[in-house]
């Protein structure tokens, strides 16, 4: 069964070549497409790169939403309770977008403190806080009330 052995070896080698090629390609593509998350304070400190897709997140500053009367263009500010930054968006905002709500915006910084968003994420669930936003609030601002799974479930505060 020598021929058979040889075939098996060829198959294994081909598989290995495919796999290593795949891994190299995957790592390269991953590296190109990672969007790092920055809190507004980090953006202000100049830690975030310009003109590269990143994610930022924070609470929507009440009263900061400015809509254009001619188009969908909208600008608003987000905060981590220490620093603020401007987000601009030329699209329909998600339904759960609200003042005071934790949101994540994905896009590029065009100015040191202004992000042009291609995507704004607000959540299904109004009591939900994106983990990134919560972490940055803990780090830079004053944390919101503790968000224990059980406590946020109590509807009592609404009635």
């Amino acid at each position: 069964m020598k021929a058979h052995r040889r075939n098996k070896l060829i198959a294994i080698l081909a598989g290995l070549a495919l796999l290593s090629g795949a891994v190299a390609l995957i790592l390269f593509a991953l590296n190109e497409n990672i969007n790092h998350f920055y809190a507004p304070t980090e953006v202000k400190e100049g830690k975030a790169p310009l003109n590269k897709t990143i994610r930022v997140g924070g609470l929507v500053v009440p009263g900061s939403i400015e809509r254009s009367t001619e188009s969908l263009y909208v600008e608003f500010k987000i905060t981590d309770n220490q620093s603020q930054m401007i987000i601009s968006f030329d699209n329909i905002l998600p339904d759960l977008f609200k003042e005071g709500q934790g949101v994540i915006a994905e896009g590029q910084l065009v100015e040191p403190n202004k992000l042009v968003a291609s995507k704004v994420l607000a959540k299904h669930d109004e009591t939900y806080m994106p983990p990134e936003v919560e972490a940055s609030l803990q780090k830079y601002g004053h944390p919101m009330q503790p968000r224990d799974g059980d406590e946020s479930k109590q509807p009592s505060d609404k009635y």
Partner: protein
């Protein structure tokens, strides 16, 4: 009273699961008939108990029993009755109860429909599923009990079901998906039982195959329904976002697809046995991983439930135990498994090997992209996410060869084939597909050479190639018989299943590619009475009114859409405000069509009577889900093939003979 009863049934189910997860193993080891028989009884009672428990929660919802915290948080007196029922699985606790009910349903089904298996085997299969049930029932009982009372302060009214979930999509999507997720536990249990038994012959594969296919059918439909729901409800016309939770469902689907193919080789040719067993373990592990990602909220996702670290830890531990224990068992026992390898380099075995390698790598690509943020966070404390371009690019890279090889793979013979002869049969078909694909994309491009998208052309050609390949396959198969018709009739049902499923893949591919590259998306400002031209469509804002729904008020706009003076559709998108939660929801209006959808969604009111609206023209978007329906139909054909039924009939006959004899 009823919630306590539900809780009681759940506790009883837990005790039952513990017994089912232990005694049958002992029974199988010692060949104790009573204990083996017990496995069947426990399976039935676990199912009935879970059903009773689920019904109790449903009754609490129907009766608006707001003393139950879960009901109070996810329902409301104004909620229509059908949404009150679907609200049962509208959030974490209740959906977990549904999950366990479905698991119990699968256990019951295995116990009922696997009479042809040896007693010790079925006892072990049911035992493994019992252990899985122990994990999930205790998860429900100890971390996520839906029956907990909100005493002593009973709210007057409930907090309402999230408006996004007040939709037909919620009624059908989760149950379908869970049927798939949990369904893979059956083939997992078969694999573990087979390893324990030390018997993994072709019969093992033959038993596992239909079960895997059923789970895969549900998974396919569940994912497609989710995609369709996202498209019309929350996605602004998007149908797939590479969101972590979408990926969580896609991973077991990919692995399950690979499993279906390797099971074929294992059953027919006794090849790749140990790989198939490993794949069965991995597929279910990915199901569990998906559960962990969804339930723990570790990743930012549109689906995330309110995050509770305890739940995440519980599932993670369970995942570690299941994966760890099964891999250890695999390491010890798999050396006993002997696969045949009497095939040559040009054979269907090798074709299936390619299929599995490519699907496994695709799974790995999606897995890595999904988990990458967690890995980065663990090592650097930085938060990050992986963007859709990564998934789009990497997934295409490995899916292109899959599509390219598919027509050849389904034609090539087992053991040994003649590659040049095979290629020769297909060369003209392939060239025709290239020609047709170029023509079609050229037409869709408006017969111009500007903005040519190479990926769109490639995708179209490959989609056509897969369809052409199946036609050629039917032609070649039928040519073996005397008359064409007799030949077509001779193709077995499971091969028709394969043909249909492969056509489904082609249809979905065409849908994905054509929608992605030829959609028109425009945001416009429009006033009442105004007509705006959008890329050949004229949109007329005819009327605007406020309406009252059962539990919401809405602004409803009426648009007439025409193209070249031909009336296309009247679309009535809404902006709703729900009474209980005061949440605003956008209801898009869609004119569906086989070849295109017209989609209008209302954005924001601008000055005086003007609105910002979004108009979509999406060619072939329905094909994405149509393909999934084909795949599911293919699966149904394959699992109802004669050889599975014949056996059952024979078994029945012999059983009857036995009972008569007694």
């Amino acid at each position: 009273m009823i919630p306590e009863l539900g809780n009681f049934f759940l506790i009883m189910a837990f005790i039952n699961a513990i017994l089912l997860g232990t005694l049958p193993f002992y029974g199988a080891q010692t060949n104790h008939k009573g204990l083996i028989q017990f496995a069947h009884k426990a399976s039935t009672s676990i199912f009935l108990l879970m059903l009773a428990s689920f019904v109790c929660l449903t009754i609490s919802f129907i009766q608006n029993d707001f003393s139950v915290a879960y009901v109070a948080n996810h329902s409301n007196t104004q909620l229509p009755i059908y949404y009150r029922i679907s609200a049962v699985w509208g959030s974490h606790e209740g959906s977990l109860l549904l999950w366990v009910l479905i698991l119990a349903g699968w256990i019951f089904a295995v116990s009922k429909f696997s009479k042809s298996l040896p007693d010790t085997m079925i006892a072990r299969v049911l035992g493994v599923m019992g252990l899985i049930a122990v994990g999930f029932v205790s998860f429900t009982l100890f971390t996520s009990n839906p029956f907990e009372r909100a005493l002593p302060f009973i709210p007057i009214d409930g907090a309402d079901l999230n408006p996004l979930l007040q939709d037909f999509g919620l009624i059908v999507h989760p149950p379908m998906l869970y049927m798939g997720y949990v369904g893979f536990s059956v083939v997992f249990a078969f694999a573990i039982a087979g390893l324990l038994q030390g018997e993994l012959d072709y019969k093992w594969a033959k038993w596992s195959r239909p079960w895997t296919t059923v789970a895969w059918i549900f998974m396919t439909l569940g994912i497609a329904l989710g995609s369709w729901w996202a498209y019309y409800e929350l996605g602004w016309g998007g149908w797939w976002f590479w969101d972590p939770v979408e990926n969580a469902s896609f991973l077991p689907w990919l692995a399950g697809t690979a499993l279906i193919h390797s099971l074929a080789a294992t059953e027919k040719r006794a090849a790749f046995k140990s790989w198939t067993v490993l794949l069965a373990i991995l597929t279910f592990s990915l199901s569990l991983l998906g559960t962990f990602l969804v339930r723990s909220g570790v990743l930012t996702s549109v689906h995330a439930f309110a995050n509770d670290p305890v739940r995440g830890k519980f599932i993670l531990m369970f995942l570690a135990i299941v994966v760890g224990a099964s891999l250890i068992l695999y390491a010890i026992q798999s050396s006993k498994v002997r696969s045949k390898s009497d095939y040559t380099l040009v054979s269907r075995e090798i074709a299936l090997l390619f299929n599995n390698a490519l699907l496994a790598v695709s799974t790995f690509v999606v897995l890595l992209g999904t988990l990458h943020p967690l890995i980065v966070e663990a090592f650097t404390d930085g938060k990050s996410s992986v963007g859709p371009p990564y998934f789009n690019l990497m997934f295409s890279v490995f899916f292109i060869p899959i599509l390219l090889l598919m027509p050849l793979g389904q034609q090539i013979s087992w053991k040994k084939d003649d590659l040049p002869a095979l290629l020769k049969k297909y060369v003209w078909w392939f060239l025709s597909c290239i020609f047709l694909g170029l023509l079609l994309t050229f037409g869709l491009n408006g017969f111009t050479f500007t903005d040519i998208e190479p990926m769109a052309i490639l995708g179209t050609i490959l989609g056509l190639w897969v369809i052409a390949g199946t036609v050629k396959y039917i032609q070649l198969q039928s040519a073996k018989s005397q008359s064409r018709l007799a030949g077509v009739r001779k193709i077995s049902r499971s091969y028709w299943g394969m043909i249909l499923a492969h056509i489904g893949v082609a249809v979905t591919t065409l849908g994905v590619v054509l929608t992605s590259y030829y959609s028109i998306e425009k945001d416009i400002r429009i006033e009442i009475g105004e007509t705006v031209e959008v890329e050949g469509l004229s949109v007329h804002f005819k009327d605007f009114k406020n309406i009252q729904g059962p539990n919401y008020i809405a602004s409803k706009a009426i648009f007439d859409v025409t193209k070249d003076d031909d009336f296309i559709a009247q679309l009535k998108p809404e902006k709703r405000r729900y009474n209980a939660s005061q949440m605003v929801m956008t209801e898009a209006a869609i004119d569906p069509g086989l070849f295109r959808d017209v989609y209008i969604a209302m954005g924001e009111p601008l000055d005086n009577s003007a609105w910002a609206i979004r108009v979509y023209y999406k060619p072939f978007v329905r094909w994405i889900w149509l393909g999934a329906i084909f795949m599911a139909l293919g699966g149904i054909l394959a699992m109802t093939d004669k050889r599975y039924r014949e056996k059952k009939l024979k078994k029945k006959a012999s059983q009857e003979a036995n009972t008569n004899g007694q």
